[in-house]
């Protein structure tokens, strides 16, 4: 069977690619399109390192087939900064050292952005539960959670 020809939108840009059925969206992003910001941790939907949004919905791209991207709008970590200008979450993560090795960071940032779009004023508990699917083995989470809460507070006072 010929490869699937998929037409989709990634970070606002129209994109076309070819893929096999069994290739996940993460495989396509990384191996076909060179968008290696989304990481492969577990490849089974447990760690969240591959988090992207599909039509505004936060998902693990390792649990989405590439062919399912047809006609959808995908947002990845590569689309988070506005040119050289970092997203407030990215900026805060740097300032507050909310990362160490950085493997989980793209997924955490995408998930946190998705939270703040849905709930701009979350409680600490809400942030912790929302990010429960993003595993980090370095930070112990506190700096991640406080950075997200600080960005939410900044947005509120802005």
């Amino acid at each position: 069977m010929a490869k699937h020809h998929v037409t989709t939108t990634i970070n606002g840009e129209p994109v076309e690619f070819l893929c096999e059925t069994q290739q996940t969206l993460l495989d396509v992003l990384r191996d076909e399109l060179g968008l290696t910001g989304s990481k492969e941790g577990c490849a089974s939907g447990d760690c969240g390192a591959c988090s992207v949004t599909v039509d505004g919905r936060l998902v693990c791209s390792c649990l989405v087939l590439g062919v399912e991207a047809e006609g959808q709008s995908i947002e990845t970590i590569e689309g988070m900064a506005d040119g050289e200008k970092l997203h407030p979450l990215q900026q805060r993560f740097l300032e507050e050292a909310a990362l160490q090795c950085g493997i989980c960071t793209p997924g955490v940032l995408i998930a946190a952005k998705s939270l703040l779009e849905k709930n701009p004023d979350p409680t600490e508990t809400e942030v912790r539960y929302w990010l429960a699917g993003n595993l980090c083995r370095c930070t112990g989470y506190d700096k991640i959670i406080s950075s997200v809460l600080d960005v939410a507070a900044d947005m509120k006072s802005a």
Binding site: M1, E20, Q22, L58, V64, E68
Partner: protein
């Protein structure tokens, strides 16, 4: 790897024709949160994957006969945003919401959770307690079947070749009715139920329980409808004595496995404890309905 065919039909009839003509390795793709893990682990090698998310009827929630018709491929996140369903059946929505992380919620579906046929499926005891039925379409037409008739053993369903679950019917909640679902897991989030309990009960104007459904998950090969546990509540004001009988009946019904997440003894004991706690929440909700 062998080439896997992929189809995304736009109608139920097209999907059923593909399923009926496919071989034993044909798989339905809804949210993919089980299928893609199995695919990656080499547990399945599909010949054909049928993505049913292009079928409108499977993606929507509509009101029907005082209750709701919920498409089989509606995601956890979508149902959680439906205020009408959430206010009528908080237990069903909470049970569905307990499946996986925010990311998994963006994809997981009721039909997938049911057809994966895991004994620990969180949504299933709550769906059964609520008296939900499913609309099954196959080569021989359409039938409506109770949710409890679908899973027959771990990983196996009663669906015949070419059949699939298109949607669920969630009846209207009774005036003084309330439902709840609780599970025990060793942590607070992102885990698989060691014990799960779904309870739906109805009170009369004097606060006496007139009807109840008590369903246990993760303590037997399939979800268990425990009539003795329901009968412990019916005719009572769901007082301490009734709660004790409920807990004893729930524990007595258990037929669990022993594994790293819970021993037989632990699961059996905890089933009673969780049943009491679940009943207390359902009771509160019934009183305020």
């Amino acid at each position: 790897m062998n080439t896997i065919q992929f189809e995304k039909p736009g109608t139920v009839d097209e999907a059923v024709a593909l399923l009926a003509n496919g071989d034993a390795n044909t798989r339905v793709l809804a949210g993919g949160t089980d299928l893609l893990v199995q695919l990656r682990a080499g547990m399945v090698t599909p010949s054909l994957i049928i993505d049913i998310k292009g079928i409108d009827e499977m993606r929507t929630v509509t009101e029907e006969n005082g209750g709701f018709r919920i498409g089989g491929a509606v995601s956890g996140a979508e149902l959680n945003e439906n205020d009408a369903v959430k206010s009528a059946w908080p237990g069903v929505v909470e049970a569905f919401d307990l499946i996986g992380s925010t990311q998994i919620q963006g994809r997981c579906t009721l039909a997938g959770n049911l057809c994966n046929a895991s004994p620990a499926a969180d949504s299933v005891p709550a769906m059964i307690a609520a008296g939900m039925t499913c609309k099954i379409v196959g080569p021989n037409g359409t039938r409506e079947a109770p949710v409890e008739s679908i899973a027959i053993s771990p990983g196996k369903t009663s669906l015949t070749k070419g059949e699939m679950i298109v949607s669920f019917f969630l009846p209207g909640q009774n005036a003084n009715g309330g439902d709840a679902y609780l599970r025990f897991i060793p942590r607070t989030e992102m885990d698989i139920a060691v014990v799960g309990v779904g309870i739906n009960l109805t009170l009369d104007d004097n606060g006496v329980c007139t009807a109840a459904r008590v369903v246990l998950g993760a303590v037997a090969p399939t979800a268990l409808v425990v009539a003795d546990a329901a009968n412990a509540l019916i005719g009572t004001k769901v007082d301490d004595a009734a709660m004790e009988k409920l807990a004893a009946a729930a524990s007595a019904a258990c037929n669990p496995i022993d594994d790293k997440r819970g021993t037989i003894e632990f699961r059996t004991k905890v089933a009673g404890v969780i049943a009491r706690r679940t009943a207390a929440i359902a009771l509160d909700r019934a009183r305020s309905n």
